[in-house]
Symmetry: C2
Subunit: 106 residues, 2 copies
Amino acid sequence: MKQPTICPRFEKAISLLSQRWTALVIYQLLSGTQRFSEIQSAIGISGKVLSERLKDLEHQDVVKRKVIPETPVVIEYSLTEKGHSLEPILREIENWSQLWVPPVTE
Amino acid sequence: MKQPTICPRFEKAISLLSQRWTALVIYQLLSGTQRFSEIQSAIGISGKVLSERLKDLEHQDVVKRKVIPETPVVIEYSLTEKGHSLEPILREIENWSQLWVPPVTE
DNA sequence: TTAGTTAGTTACTTTATGTAAGTAAGTATA
DNA sequence: TATACTTACTTACATAAAGTAACTAACTAA
């Protein structure tokens, strides 16, 4: 069964944002350029999957990768213009979460 | 590695929305009450996963389920108030997709 | 020579999803 | 009476995605 009646551009956007970890990676980069290991420890993603996601996002022109040949090598990840354009969506989610997700009591 | 520094309520919201199919199911229900098979054919999801998602969403008070004892039985799914409160997020995504996702040429 | 750094990759396991067939409860048809 | 048809699922099995932990390249420092 494969006959969706939903707008394909919307679907594409959803398939980007609803891939596991992708939204969190972008959200994390909203606060500025970050390195591989920073993103990794901030959101608790495995190196394997983070590596995959960053490659995807680079290919989709959402994320920029910059190699700094220090020692040891440093790689900086940041958002492109397209990446930044996702901010309003993430802010809406942030806002919604404050209104509708019960605070965690631990 | 599990030491995220991201707001747990935001993370919860993301984990809801970035679960595969969930956003599409909610989006589909934004246009009104629908039956199992309508949702299924509109977004191209398998019966198995749709059934799982609708149960989850019911438990999270995002979706309402109403049994109509006709013959054969009809089950109507619709959004709760919490479900409707997600509309701005989905509209942002919709809007973004029109601006940033290239039109499909087929 | 051994240890330490960052940004990954590899092999293997567990979980999630897809596919297709089957089920319950009822009506209609032959 | 038996067979077929409906909706809304569930089940069994196969494939794809994600988690875990160990490993690598290239270089420095001890």
